[in-house]
């Protein structure tokens, strides 16, 4: 008999599996439980303190949350449901047909290989990670496809924050998938009066936009920390989005995805200050901290700063014009300083938009 970390029985397949015990994984698990699903969560550290609230019965836990930052509409929906089951076995979480993956992208290839023995055609796998892999800018669903037998894949992106998911505050996102069945399953698991999930078949576009917004968030925080005003930040973000569109189209995605929830929508949320770790990282970098130190200070795995470099190299190989990405890549590699970067970008010939 399989048992959970605290020894409780794990019999029968749960409806939803979540891989990753970080803030996002916990948020997804809570959101699914709010929709009355039986949820099993995989974590490499099943005894971690952050997970303990998940295993408590829902009513008790939610009473304990502060009223101040909770949406009243969400509070009214008090779903009953079993506590979230925590496991440290991938096989146990893969008993669910719908799996959410919320692990940092750098662990993705290893995770995919480790999951392989437990996956077949029945699985629906949706990830929420930001990241692209290698010089060809492979998406994380490409990685899953390469290493596992699962085909019904999706990427959930957009202005979704871990806190909003966990607390049921209004928010929304977009699920990129070729399979309408995957989108329907994600909606059933997460959507509700305070959570809108849009759908697109531009799986590539969603993942590229989402990954590059991660980089833009860091850089915009850096610029603000350096005392640059909203106009400079807006200039940077708009031009960087335009470059994202070029890269997206070159990889077979669509331009409108970049301007939708996964790109612009997500960026608005980040600039608006939704408290994501990339902001802290950018601020530390803006204060002049070395990259390693800044990442440590941000206190989270911030994915893909090296992505700026990958994107710039990819663009060069395809003959795309991406001056912002190239300048950022040089700065992150500490070939140029922030001030030099700014001067260089401002001196770049102005063209038509």
């Amino acid at each position: 008999m399989k048992t959970s970390a605290d020894g409780a029985a794990l019999d029968g397949a749960p409806a939803v599996g979540v891989i990753g015990g970080g803030a996002f994984g916990r948020g997804l698990a809570l959101a699914a439980r709010r929709n009355s699903h039986r949820v099993r969560l995989y974590s490499r550290h099943p005894d971690g303190q952050a997970l303990s609230p998940l295993t408590a019965p829902p009513a008790k836990r939610e009473r304990a949350t502060s009223k101040a930052n909770e949406d009243p509409r969400a509070t009214r929906r008090r779903p009953a449901g079993p506590p979230i089951e925590i496991t440290s076995e991938l096989g146990a979480v893969a008993e669910a047909s719908l799996l959410f993956v919320a692990v940092p992208s750098r662990y993705f290839p290893d995770l995919a290989r480790a999951l392989e023995p437990y996956l077949d055609g029945r699985h629906l796998i949706v990830h929420v990670s930001r990241g692209l892999v290698g010089p060809e800018l492979l998406t994380l669903t490409d990685v899953l496809r390469e290493h596992t037998a699962a085909r019904r894949l999706g990427a959930l992106a957009g202005p979704l924050s871990a806190t909003a998911l966990a607390q049921g505050r209004p928010g929304g996102g977009v699920i990129g998938t070729l399979f309408p069945g995957v989108a329907a399953a994600v909606r059933e698991a997460l959507a509700g009066p305070s959570m809108r999930i849009y759908e697109t078949d531009d799986l590539v576009g969603v993942q590229i936009s989402s990954a590059l917004v991660g980089v833009m968030t860091v850089v915009s925080a850096m610029l603000r920390e350096r005392g640059l005003g909203p106009t400079a930040v807006a200039l940077f973000c708009s031009r960087a989005l335009a470059e994202t569109t070029r890269i997206t189209e070159s990889r077979g995605g669509r331009a409108e995805t970049t301007t939708g929830l996964a790109g612009a929508g997500d960026l608005f949320s980040a600039i608006g200050g939704d408290g994501r770790p990339e902001i802290a990282l950018g601020e530390a970098l803006g204060r002049g901290a070395p990259v390693d130190e800044a990442a440590a200070a941000a206190g989270a795995h911030v994915e893909g700063l090296e992505l700026a470099t990958l994107a710039a190299e990819y663009a060069a190989s395809k003959g795309l014009s991406t001056p912002v990405a190239t300048a950022i890549a040089d700065m992150l590699a500490e070939r140029t300083t922030l001030d030099e970067t700014l001067t260089r970008l401002m001196a770049y010939p102005v063209g038509t938009e």
């Binding site: 047909s97 077949d120 596992t148 037998a149 019904r152």
Partner: protein, 567 residues
């Protein structure tokens, strides 16, 4: 006379029916099953179209509207006989009761189904097995066609065509399920050479949805009509017609008829390996698999990615013209190309005779409908080599369900797998590599120019012979390394002959067939006469260009890759 031949199905008289043996492939039963197949098709399409009055009316309007529009524009024999019917229908629809609508739909669907359905005559098959090589070679001298067909000595097609790949595995899979061959498409000769390759490899004949334009060549038309080909008229835009085509091909696959589809939809205009596949009818393989699984019929479906590689492409000039012209992109059917001109066939085959391995067909390893590799027992494997059950892809809450949207998504995924396989299974031919090295040189010395400006350099740029030989040798070695790594294949002459011989052969093959000189040997240099045709042949190399370029050629190689990928 030829016209009449090509428009009407020509059948042999029914003297003595052929009685199939149990060991014969499914297609030998086709004529016995034909009526049943048509009934199933009509019933299936009718079920989909008659779910409510509004839907029926929409289907009828769609059919009448599109057919009237097509026939009015077409102004031929077909218009004269059919136009009246559809105009009348268009007027009547508004007054029809539901039962009349249903009856009219059934009539239309039956019409379409009969127009599509093929025929299989084992006698023609036997004739084709013995005769096709001769037909092909005797086209060189049409006056000798009759005597050649009857004579016993087969011309040297055997040497002309090479077959590669794990044929034994395909033979093992044949009785266990339906094989769907999905080759690259460069020429209208493809279906013929593939049929011949199957026969030579002791693989069962296939059914094939042939474009109606293929039937313009009377010889081909005769064989198409009698070897199980069904007719696909791309000009017909009617929704019901498309539904009939899909249902027809799905029913054939479900019943175990090995099939052939060109997933690129049309011949590669540019000579590039297809990268955007629509799959079209090949996609019905996925839903046919689902239907069999749901009906507990133990017949799997497997796809065989295949590449057809030519030293010389019959229609190269027309295809390239079409690719380069703006309007060309909208043109789907070319009726006046080299394929329908006997004199071009003559020139083409004359050129190829005696050329060792002028065409290489390579069967890639089969995959299941979800892109997983399949072994000789028909077991699907996961990336780590575990056996997995392909029916798990059809599960929804533990039940096998039919779901068109899901299968369409699987089909798109499969297209990606095929694109990747094509690249790995492509066999690079001598002409292609020689063209590439020459074109790369042109690109290098005209740095900064765009494609069209480059193509205007006719007969102006030459490459020193010594440099050409050295770079050809380098490129060949790099390709061989890629081949070792499983990324591509090379033809036997390309692998074995000296660079000087390769250059001489390429020039010899091109000049004399193509209406313009492609390149000419001027002793200590080779002159680039027609950059356009060079581009066509070198386009096969685009995916590997950067990987086979020496350090000094990398910039030109990258430029080639970018120039072509942005078009």
């Amino acid at each position: 006379m030829l016209r009449a031949l090509s428009e009407r199905p020509l059948h042999l008289p029914r003297l003595r029916p052929y009685v199939p043996r149990p060991s014969d492939p499914a297609i030998f039963w086709f004529n016995a099953e034909r009526d049943d197949i048509l009934r199933t098709v009509v019933q299936r399409v009718l079920e989909g179209a008659t779910t409510g009055s509004a839907r029926m009316e929409l289907a009828l309007n769609d059919a009448a509207f599109h057919e009237v529009r097509r026939l009015e524009a077409q102004r031929d024999e077909e218009s004269r006989t059919q136009l009246g019917y559809y105009r009348g229908l268009l007027r009547r629809i508004g007054r029809m009761s539901d039962s009349e609508k249903r009856a009219t739909l059934e009539e239309l669907i039956t019409r379409f189904a009969h127009d599509v359905a093929g025929n299989f005559d084992p006698r023609v098959y036997a004739l084709a097995r013995r005769g096709v090589p001769k037909v092909i070679t005797s086209v060189m001298d049409p006056s000798r066609l009759a005597t050649d067909l009857l004579s016993a000595d087969a011309p040297a097609i055997h040497d002309l065509l090479a077959v590669q790949g794990d044929v034994a595995r395909l033979r093992a899979l044949e009785p266990r399920g339906t094989l769907i061959y999905v080759p690259t498409h460069s020429s209208n000769l493809d279906s013929i050479v593939l049929a011949h390759a199957l026969d030579r490899s002791d693989l069962a004949p296939v059914v094939y949805g042939a474009g109606k334009n293929l039937f313009t060549n009377p010889i081909i038309s005769f064989f198409m009509h009698n070897l199980g080909a069904y007719r696909v008229d791309r000009r017909v835009r009617v929704g019901l017609y498309k539904a009939v085509l899909k249902a027809y091909s799905s029913v054939l696959i479900e019943r175990g008829y090995h099939s052939l589809f060109f997933p690129g939809g049309t011949r590669s205009r540019s000579g590039l390996i297809e990268r955007h596949l629509k799959l079209g009818l090949a996609g019905t393989g996925v839903s046919a698999f689902a239907r069999n699984k749901r009906g507990r019929i133990a017949r799997d479906v497997w796809f065989v990615p295949t590449t057809i590689n030519y030293s010389l492409v019959l229609e190269a000039e027309t295809l390239m013209e079409d690719w380069l012209s703006e309007e060309g992109r909208a043109r789907y059917i070319i009726e006046d190309d080299e394929f329908s001109r006997i004199d071009r066939w003559v020139a083409f085959f004359r050129k190829l005779v005696g050329l060792h391995h002028a065409c290489v067909i390579r069967f890639g390893d089969p995959v299941d409908p979800f892109g997983n590799p399949v072994d000789a027992e028909g077991r699907s494997a996961s990336p780590a080599g575990r056996t997995i059950d392909p029916s798990s892809y059809l599960l929804d809450q533990g039940e096998i369900v039919l779901d068109e949207a899901r299968d369409a998504a699987y089909t798109r995924e499969l297209a990606d797998v095929l694109v990747e396989r094509y690249e790995r299974e492509t066999v690079i031919m001598t002409t292609q590599l020689v063209a590439h090295v020459l074109f790369r040189h042109l690109t290098d010395v005209t740095a900064g120019l765009d494609l069209f400006a480059r193509l205007r350099y006719r007969g102006e740029i030459a490459m020193p012979r010594e440099e050409l030989e050295a770079k050809l040798g380098e490129a060949r070695d790099a390709l061989t390394d890629l081949e070792q790594a499983g990324a591509v294949h090379t033809s036997e002459p390309l692998r074995t002959l000296a660079p000087a011989t390769l250059i001489a052969r390429a020039i010899e093959v091109w000049n004399g067939y193509h209406s313009t000189r492609v390149a000419s040997d001027r002793g200590d240099e080779v002159l680039i006469d027609d950059p356009k045709l060079l581009l066509y042949y070198q386009n096969r190399l685009v995916p590997y260009a950067e990987r086979i370029a020496g350090r000094r050629d990398r910039r030109a190689a990258r430029e080639i890759a970018q120039m072509v990928s942005t078009r």
